[in-house]
């Protein structure tokens, strides 16, 4: 018996669900071929990024490595680095999160200018940032002079200064990636939530923030990694004192004057910590906001 040829079939499900999402790579899939001239520069670029680290690995004194990375100075610097990077990441989140939301959702006057200003620390040499902080919060700085005069608060040479310097250089990473995630997501969900009667504050906590969580993860990791590696702004603004302001990058810079093996060992330690941090967040950070 012949079936009606053009019957749409009433049993067809009206759009099958795809519980496994689009993440799985399909090995059957082919793509348009890449132009071959890209491979050369791409490999060279990869080499420029990876080979120096290999150089570091090759130069390391592996016999003394355990002793070098567990020296008092190294552990003190590592501890300080982790603490300050965590604090500045928290500060980034506390200040940069709202900033990103305002930039993405609010309509502040001069939005373009504001966004450029936020990006400034990304393109400034960090040491310039450190100087700028010094001339703002330093003893003779724009604000620092009053902090000193009325409150007796001096920021430079303190751990607080380290955190501020790290926040200064790291916050743009958080703001930019969060704002990007917000813009990609669009405000349609927030609009729906409002028409369901949710107040702005409720919408923020129950819709905006949860939708942002994946992007937030990578943004936080980026900020933490940047804070961990911060050098220029710290040395210019906070100085360098063991246990107080001498973070791991500063310790490395100092040790390389006297003990190259020590500096290399600490560099590897920093590479390892950064690698762990980035690998932890890699999937989201690389794939970006969904």
């Amino acid at each position: 018996m012949a079936a009606a040829p053009s019957s749409p079939g009433p049993l067809r499900p009206d759009r099958p669900s795809v519980p496994f999402g689009r993440g799985g790579a399909d090995r059957h899939r082919t793509r348009a071929a890449l132009p071959w001239p890209l491979w050369g520069p791409a490999l060279a670029g990869l080499g420029l990024l990876v080979l120096p680290v290999l150089g570091l690995v090759a130069r390391a004194d592996w016999v003394r490595l355990p002793e070098l990375v567990t020296s008092d100075a190294a552990l003190t610097a590592l501890g300080l680095s982790l603490r300050t990077a965590a604090a500045s990441t928290a500060l980034c989140l506390l200040l940069g999160g709202p900033l990103a939301v305002v930039l993405a959702r609010g309509r502040p006057p001069g939005l373009r200018v504001l966004r450029s200003l936020v990006l400034l620390p990304l393109v400034l040499p960090p040491v310039v940032g450190g100087l700028a902080l010094l001339y703002l919060l330093g003893r003779t700085g724009l604000v620092g002079r009053y902090l000193d005069l009325y409150l007796g608060v001096r920021v430079p040479f303190t751990t607080t200064a380290v955190v501020l310097a790290q926040t200064f250089v790291a916050m743009p990473f958080l703001v930019v990636s969060l704002e990007g995630a917000l813009r990609t997501a669009g405000d349609r969900y927030e609009t729906v939530a409002a028409t369901l009667g949710a107040r702005p504050w409720t919408v923020f906590w129950r819709v905006t923030v949860p939708l942002l969580l994946p992007g937030l993860g990578s943004a936080v990791v980026l900020a933490f990694a940047r804070a961990l590696g911060e050098f220029g702004a710290t040395i210019a603004f906070a100085g360098s004192l063991a246990g107080q302001t001498r973070t791991l990058p500063l310790e490395i810079y100092l040790q390389r004057e006297s003990d190259v093996d020590g500096a290399v060992a600490l560099s590897l330690l920093l590479v390892a910590v950064a690698a762990v941090v980035v690998v932890l967040a890699r999937p989201r950070a690389v794939e970006g906001a969904r």
Binding site: L48, R139, T140, A236, S240, R246
Partner: protein, 252 residues
């Protein structure tokens, strides 16, 4: 294909870097003498370079300034150098251990001064004043030569210093004083000379006990050893001594 990639890559990198490094020159001089010098010698050697080139037509002097230990590492790692002038003897020892030092001679000494802002707000007059409460002091970290010298003078004076920061180099120390963040810093007298308008140097007797010797040498294997020797002679001769003295150095 796969195995050759790293080699090709390295070649490409080297070519690219070499291209970055070579500036376009005027009528190419026939000979070049390469000098590696401690950063604190920038001003003096800049003058001597002009003098040397004027006296040796067709010779180009190329001076690379940097931290002494960095320069020493470069020489140990095979960088070509006709003259090496270091800010301390220990870095010269590094080169000597590699068998490359030639015959170093001390051509200048430098000693510490207390750098204070031009108006000297805390009225610093001696090393002992640095230990007073409320004085924000910045010094070099003990790992670097100026920091080692700082420890030495403090011990000699029996003063216990409590610095707010131990900077990785003398310029950072000076920077903090210039910025007004520090009330005092321990730097070399030549650094005070270089920033004469913004900071003042306070001399103290213990400084003489921690002089920094500046050795100079023609490293073994120098491509232009003869020109290198002539440059060293210029530095150690009358012209060099005058220039060094003018910059605050003492000469033997």
């Amino acid at each position: 294909m796969r195995a050759r990639a790293p080699l090709g890559l390295a070649v490409a990198l080297v070519l690219a870097l070499a291209a970055c490094g070579s500036g376009g020159g005027n009528p190419a001089p026939r000979r070049t003498v390469t000098v590696l010098a401690a950063a604190s010698l920038t001003e003096v050697f800049g003058r001597l370079e002009q003098r040397f080139e004027a006296e040796h037509p067709g010779v180009d002097v190329k001076i690379s300034y940097g931290g002494s230990s960095d320069l020493a590492q470069q020489i140990v790692n095979g960088a070509p150098a006709d003259v090496f002038a270091a800010a301390n003897t220990s870095t010269m020892d590094t080169v000597a251990r590699a068998g490359l030092a030639g015959q170093p001679r001390v051509f200048a000494t430098n000693e510490l001064r207390i750098a204070v802002p031009a108006d000297n707000p805390k009225n610093i007059g001696s090393l002992a004043d640095l230990a007073k409460d409320g004085v924000v002091l910045v010094v070099c970290a003990p790992q670097v030569p100026c920091g080692a010298a700082t420890q030495k003078v403090a011990t000699a004076a029996g003063v216990r210093l409590r610095p707010a920061s131990e900077e990785p180099d003398v310029k950072s120390v000076l920077g903090k004083v210039v910025a007004g963040e520090a009330d005092a810093g321990l730097v070399y007298v030549t650094d005070v000379h270089a920033r004469g308008d913004r900071v003042r140097g306070v001399a103290f007797p213990e400084a003489a006990g921690a002089r920094n010797d500046y050795p100079i040498t023609v490293p073994s294997g120098a491509p232009e050893a003869e020109l290198g020797r002539q440059f060293v002679e210029l530095v150690r001769g009358q012209v060099g001594r005058e220039a060094l003295t003018a910059a605050g150095f003492q000469v033997p």
